[in-house]
C-alpha cells in the first residue's frame, strides 16, 4: 500500500521530461510540452536546446511562458530569428532532433487532430488549427506527444488529420515523403504508448504507478494492444517533483 503523493498530470509531465535527452534540439509546443521540456532542462538535460516557433532558438526561460512568444523567450535565447527562418532553415532542413507536441485527438496510428471535432464544413467544435504542428510532425527526427488519456481524445480515427503520425500504418510516411521518423512515443496521464515496430500501431508499453491496464484500455477508443514487455513507470523523484512544482506554482 503506497500513498500517492503526486497527481496524474505530474507523473505524465515528469515521464515526458525523461524522454528528452540532454543536448537534443527540441521544438517545443506550448502548454504541457513546454512544461515537460522545462523540467527536463532543469533536471537531467541541462543542454536541451529549446526552440519555440516564434523564432527563439535556445530559449532558457526562468519561468514558464504563457505563450510561445513571451518576451522571456527572446530575452534568454541564443538567437531570435524570423518565422520563415525557423520553419525553413531549422525545421524543414532537418536540424531538429525532437518535436514535442500536444493534441486534441490522436488515433491508433498516432495521427493528430488540432483542427475540428466533427465534420470540417459543419464542425461540432472548432479547434485552433494546425499552427506549426504539420511540419513539426513531418520534419523533426522524432516526435513525442503528450496528452491526457480519454476515449474522446484517443479515437480509432481522427476527425481531421492535421499532422501525420504513421498514416494508415507501416511504410506510409516514406510513401508520403515525410523526412522524420514520426511519433516515437505518446505519454499520457495513464501510461506510455509507442508504435509497434512492424505495424506502427500505438501499443501500450508502460503504465504509471497505481494505474491498471484495464483502465487504460477503457480510456482508449480502439482495441488497444498491450506490449509483452509492459513496464511500470518509475515513481517521480523528489527532485523532479520539486522542479515541476516550482515551475507550475503548485505547493
Amino acid at each position: 500500500m503506497t500513498t500517492v503523493t503526486w497527481t496524474s498530470d505530474e507523473i505524465m509531465t515528469v515521464t515526458a521530461a525523461r524522454s528528452l535527452r540532454d543536448g537534443m534540439a527540441c521544438f517545443v509546443g506550448i502548454g504541457l510540452p513546454s512544461t515537460a521540456a522545462n523540467v527536463a532542462s532543469r533536471t537531467h538535460a541541462p543542454d536541451l536546446w529549446m526552440i519555440y516557433e516564434s523564432g527563439t532558438l535556445g530559449a532558457a526561460p526562468d519561468h514558464l511562458p504563457l505563450s510561445i512568444g513571451d518576451g522571456i523567450l527572446a530575452d534568454t535565447a541564443d538567437a531570435v530569428v524570423s518565422v520563415p527562418e525557423v520553419f525553413n532553415y531549422w525545421l524543414q532542413a532537418g536540424r531538429i532532433d525532437v518535436g514535442f507536441l500536444g493534441a486534441a485527438q490522436i488515433d491508433r496510428y498516432a495521427n493528430i487532430n488540432t483542427t475540428v471535432i466533427g465534420d470540417y464544413d459543419d464542425p461540432e467544435v472548432r479547434l485552433p488549427g494546425a499552427g506549426g504542428a504539420p511540419e513539426i510532425a513531418a520534419s523533426c527526427r522524432e516526435v513525442v506527444v503528450i496528452m491526457r488519456h480519454s476515449r474522446r481524445a484517443f479515437v480509432d480515427k481522427v476527425d481531421f488529420v492535421t499532422s501525420v503520425g504513421h498514416g494508415s500504418g507501416s511504410g506510409d510516411r516514406e510513401r508520403l515523403g515525410l523526412t522524420g521518423s514520426g511519433p516515437v512515443r505518446v505519454i499520457t496521464d495513464l501510461g506510455v504508448l509507442e508504435p509497434d515496430p512492424r505495424s506502427r500501431e500505438l501499443t501500450l508499453v508502460g503504465v504509471h504507478p497505481g494505474v491498471e491496464v484495464a483502465a487504460v484500455r477503457e480510456a482508449t477508443g480502439w482495441d488497444l494492444r498491450i506490449s509483452d514487455g509492459l513496464v511500470r513507470t518509475p515513481d517521480p523523484t523528489g527532485a523532479e517533483l520539486s522542479v515541476l512544482r516550482s515551475l507550475t506554482g503548485a505547493a
Binding site: I30, G31, E53, S54, G55, T56, P65, L66, S67, I68, G69, D70, G71, L73, A74, V80, V81, S82, V83, P84, F87, N88, L91, Q92, T115, Y120, D122, P123, E124, V125, R126, L127, P128, G129, A130, G131, G132, A133, P134, E135, A138, S139, F160, V161, T162, S163, V164, G167, D172, R173, L176, G177, L178, T179
Partner: protein, 302 residues
C-alpha cells in the same frame, strides 16, 4: 509621414480589402485593429498566421468576410469564442476560412515579398488540409522530380504592423521576436505602421529589423498600441487581459457590451480598454511627430 491612426486607417483600408495585421505574439497591432472596428469596415479578407484576440474582436464585430490563417486561438489561454461562433453558428455572419500551417503561411508571405507567384515547401503531405484548401497543390521539382507542396503568394492590399519606433523620415525599427512582419509588409500593396514613438535618429539595436520609409505608407504614433500584447523594451505582455478575454469573448452579450464600449471610445483610448492593467497607456493617438498631418502616402505603389 506620421498620420493620426484614424486618418491612416481611413485612407489606406477600404471595404472588401485583403488586410493583414501581423505580429507573432509580440507587437500585435491591436489599436489599429480597434480602429478598423470603430470605422465599421466590412467584407474584409483578414489574413494572419495567428489570429488571436484582436481578430476575435474584428470577427465578432462583423468586419470579416473571410479569414486566411494557420492557428486561431487565445495564446496560452484557449479558444477564440467569437471565431468559433462565426464558424460553427455564423454569428454575426458567416465566415469563410482558408487554413494553412504556419510554414505554409510563412512561405506564402515570402513568395509575396519576393515577387514570385508561389512558394514550395515540404510538408502538408498526408494531411487533410490539402483536401480542404484549393490553395495547397503539389509541384514536381524540375531537377530531382521530388514532389513538394506549392502555395500561392500572399499579397495583401494592406499590411498593418506595430513597431517600437520610427524616425521622422518614416524609417521603422523593430526588434525582439520579429515574426513575419517584414515579409508581410514587403508583400503588401500598402503598409501602415503604428509605433510606440518617433525619434530624431534610430539608435542601432541588436537583432533589429528596419523597414525603410520607402516601403511604408503611413506611420501612426500609438503608445501602447500593441497592448495587451507587448513591445519589447517598452512594456510586457498583459497575460491577465488575455485570460480576461476568455470570459468576454465566450458570451455574445458580454461581447456586444464590450463592442459598444469600444466604439463609443475615441481612438486614442483604445490601448487602455483591454489592458485592464498597468503597462499600457492611454496616451492619445494623435501624433506628436513634427510632420503630423501629412497624409500623403510615400511608399511603393503610391
Amino acid at each position: 509621414m506620421a498620420v493620426p491612426l484614424d486618418e491612416a486607417v481611413r485612407q489606406l483600408i477600404h471595404d472588401g480589402n485583403t488586410v493583414a495585421l501581423e505580429g507573432f505574439t509580440h507587437l500585435i497591432p491591436v489599436a489599429a485593429g480597434h480602429e478598423i472596428i470603430r470605422q465599421g469596415l466590412r467584407d474584409l479578407t483578414l489574413v494572419r498566421m495567428t489570429p488571436d484576440i484582436v481578430y476575435d474582436q474584428l470577427i465578432g464585430a462583423g468586419c470579416a468576410r473571410r479569414l486566411v490563417f494557420s492557428w486561431g486561438g487565445n495564446p496560452g489561454v484557449g479558444s477564440l469564442h467569437r471565431f468559433r461562433d462565426a464558424v460553427t453558428a455564423s454569428w454575426p455572419g458567416p465566415l469563410e476560412i482558408e487554413e494553412h500551417s504556419h510554414a505554409g503561411m510563412a512561405n506564402r508571405y515570402v513568395a509575396g515579398a519576393s515577387g514570385l507567384p508561389f512558394a514550395v515547401l515540404r510538408g502538408y503531405s498526408g494531411t487533410d488540409l490539402v483536401e480542404h484548401n484549393p490553395n495547397i497543390k503539389t509541384v514536381s521539382c524540375p531537377f530531382t522530380g521530388q514532389e513538394l507542396a506549392a502555395v500561392p503568394a500572399l499579397n495583401p492590399d494592406v499590411t498593418v504592423i506595430h513597431a517600437q519606433r520610427a524616425d521622422t523620415a518614416g524609417n521603422v525599427q523593430l526588434w525582439g521576436i520579429v515574426g513575419i512582419q517584414k515579409e508581410a509588409a514587403l508583400a503588401a500593396d500598402r503598409v501602415l505602421v503604428t509605433v510606440e514613438e518617433v525619434v530624431d535618429a534610430l539608435d542601432p539595436v541588436p537583432g533589429q529589423v528596419i523597414l525603410p520609409s520607402r516601403v511604408v505608407d503611413a506611420v501612426s504614433v500609438v503608445p501602447g498600441g500593441a497592448a495587451p500584447s507587448y513591445a519589447h523594451g517598452y512594456y510586457e505582455r498583459d497575460n491577465a487581459a488575455y485570460k480576461a478575454w476568455d470570459t468576454i469573448g465566450r458570451d455574445r452579450e458580454a461581447f456586444t457590451a464590450w463592442l459598444a464600449e469600444l466604439t463609443a471610445t475615441a481612438s486614442g483610448a483604445t490601448a487602455a480598454l483591454l489592458s485592464g492593467a498597468t503597462s499600457a497607456t492611454s496616451t492619445p493617438t494623435a501624433s506628436a511627430a513634427p510632420d503630423a498631418g501629412d497624409p500623403e502616402p510615400a511608399g511603393r505603389g503610391a
